[in-house]
């Protein structure tokens, strides 16, 4: 096994607030596949919220501070080189903080000032590497190893892979993406497609991979969010998908919630099921529906999985 893989086998784990609430099933299934694949996750001690999409609108540097505290604890107090965040929002914010602290002297000063007053070590750019749950499986296991561990698999389940906005945009905070072979693409991301293909899914050609679900205004401008989600759901169905695989608790809940809202308020019913990629991967690895928290999803995919003979 290469050192490169070794580096990602035991990582600091930053679940974030959503994974303790609406995204509980994502938390559960992420931990479950970690266990099934022999990967170590050590939760960041006494972590705080990264600020999601909201704090930056009040003040961007506050968000930089909030994210930097998480990275500081993971690197300085827990001695980790890598921190993994499954939520797109958390992942994006940690990456953004890294970028700001690398490139903006004013941000460095603000973060230093607040960290000193708060009584913990100031995080400095380059001390830790932030990765997404997708990177984690890719880098710590890889397709070849993953294939050997698949039990049962996804049996040709038709999947539209939905990555959302924050995983690829803005481009400047993701310097490792778009770097040719093996790297993730910001225009047409494929890491989730790659993993689920190995797990036996039949990925459909889905044009709205990085479309926005309007997550930022899911409650403050619900009609806009419902329209955006409906586009995504209808495009997935038109692409022939039975399931939309998600990798972000906000996207996931947004799709589930506005699927119902579109039906109740606009009379537009869609049947495509919404499932976390970690749940799909878990079931492909032979874990039960309960183990990956399928019962916690609002979108009910029990019957579909049963019909397909999955898990």
């Amino acid at each position: 096994m290469s050192d490169e893989r070794e580096k990602y086998k035991n990582v600091a784990y930053y679940p974030g607030c959503a994974l303790e609430g609406t995204g509980h099933a994502y938390n559960k299934s992420t931990k479950a596949i970690g266990k099934a694949l022999d990967l170590g996750l050590e939760e960041v001690k006494n972590w705080n919220c990264c600020g999601a999409m909201e704090v930056k609108n009040i003040d961007p540097k506050l968000q930089t501070y909030l994210s930097s505290r998480v990275m500081s604890i993971a690197s300085n107090e827990m001695d980790h080189d890598v921190v993994m965040a499954p939520c797109n929002g958390c992942y994006h914010n940690l990456k953004k903080a890294e970028y700001e602290l690398e490139n903006d002297q004013e941000a460095v000063e603000v973060v230093d000032q607040i960290s000193n007053k708060a009584g913990h070590e100031t995080y400095k750019a380059g001390e830790i590497e932030t990765i997404h749950a997708l990177d984690w499986i890719k880098k710590a296991v890889g397709e070849e190893e993953l294939e050997k561990k698949i039990k049962g698999g996804l049996k040709g389940l038709k999947v539209a892979n939905y990555y959302g906005c924050m995983y690829t945009r803005p481009r400047n905070i993701y310097p490792e993406k778009d770097q040719g072979e093996g790297s993730e693409s910001t225009l047409k991301p494929h890491y989730m497609d790659d993993l689920l293909a190995v797990a036996g899914a039949d990925n459909v050609e889905f044009p709205l991979k990085t479309a926005c679900c309007g997550g930022a205004h899911t409650l403050s401008d619900s009609d806009t969010s419902t329209k955006l989600v409906l586009n995504i759901l209808m495009a997935a169905e038109a692409s022939g998908a039975e399931v939309i695989a998600t990798e972000c608790p906000t996207c996931h809940t947004g799709l589930e919630m506005h699927q119902i809202r579109a039906e109740k308020m606009f009379g537009k019913k869609t049947n495509v099921k919404i499932v976390y990629f970690t749940q799909l991967l878990g079931m492909a690895l032979g874990l039960s529906k309960r183990k990956v928290g399928l019962q916690e999803n609002i979108s009910d995919s029990y019957a579909l999985m049963k019909e397909k003979g999955i898990a």
Binding site: E20, N57, I58, C165, C212, R261, I298
Partner: protein, 251 residues
């Protein structure tokens, strides 16, 4: 419609005559259409400077009006009046009156960053939308938008406890915006949510709302952040000369 002429060709600026004969030639109706001439004298020369003093607006001066932002914009696809390029143009010229026509939709940017991804000049138009929305609120042109209210409830909770406990944030926001927690679609969602959930999980979710999780030893961080935000607010108020305006009350 080309955005630079947009303000000229509004219906109220277009003149036609139902009956008009010039030099013996009948030019009634559309034949006599002309655009009323207009002199702009109410430029706000400080507009760009003020908006670029707010977080996100810093790079507005870099815009060369290519239109890539509007072309890629998520909200523009739903409503063509939502036009980041047009607003950036107006702000840069200081055409405040024109900008104010769109004051009630500007906040609807969903922060998808498609514009920032597409912009060849690193303007970060998403940030400009936020700065412009805040400018409208701070200057008293609009009440705080639902989006700002949500951001405020959320940020207060993070600053206070270090964490977000979703049901508390949602209750706080619905309370502030007078929305009912028993709207039909919400009830339907909860019904579907609990269909397969075991009782322990429901208990835990209920308990979380009572126990109010908190990051430990958070007080010093909270105070430091409050101090920083107060400083920033004072700076913004100064840049926008806010002692001269009274912000609009909500509702």
């Amino acid at each position: 419609m080309p955005i630079h002429e947009k303000s000229l060709i509004r219906p109220e600026n277009i003149k036609t005559h139902d009956e008009l004969v010039i030099d013996g030639i009948d030019v009634s109706g559309h034949w006599s259409t002309f655009i009323e001439s207009r002199v702009i004298s109410d430029y706000n020369e400080a507009l760009q400077e003020e908006i670029s003093a707010l977080p996100g607006g810093e790079n507005i001066h870099r815009c060369f009006q290519c239109g890539s932002c509007t072309n890629s914009c998520t909200v523009n696809a739903l409503n063509s009046e939502f036009n980041p390029r047009h607003w950036i143009y107006l702000i840069r010229l200081g055409m405040e009156e024109e900008l104010l026509r769109d004051k009630d939709i500007l906040w609807q940017c969903v922060s998808c960053n498609k514009c920032t991804y597409a912009c060849p000049r690193d303007v970060a138009p998403e940030g400009v939308m936020k700065a412009a929305s805040h400018w409208l609120e701070l200057k008293g042109h609009t009440p705080k938008s639902p989006s700002t209210l949500f951001d405020t409830v959320f940020t207060d909770q993070v600053m206070e406890t270090g964490l977000i406990e979703e049901s508390r944030t949602i209750r706080g926001f619905f309370g502030l915006t007078n929305q009912s927690l028993t709207q039909g679609w919400l009830i339907e969602m909860v019904k579907r949510m609990i269909r397969h959930l075991p009782i322990e999980m429901l208990m835990k979710m209920g308990l979380a709302t009572i126990l109010r999780p908190k990051t430990k030893n958070w007080d010093a961080a909270r105070d430091a952040m409050r101090e920083y935000t107060a400083e920033q607010h004072a700076l913004h108020a100064k840049a926008l000369k806010l002692d001269q305006v009274t912000p609009k009350e909500n509702n």
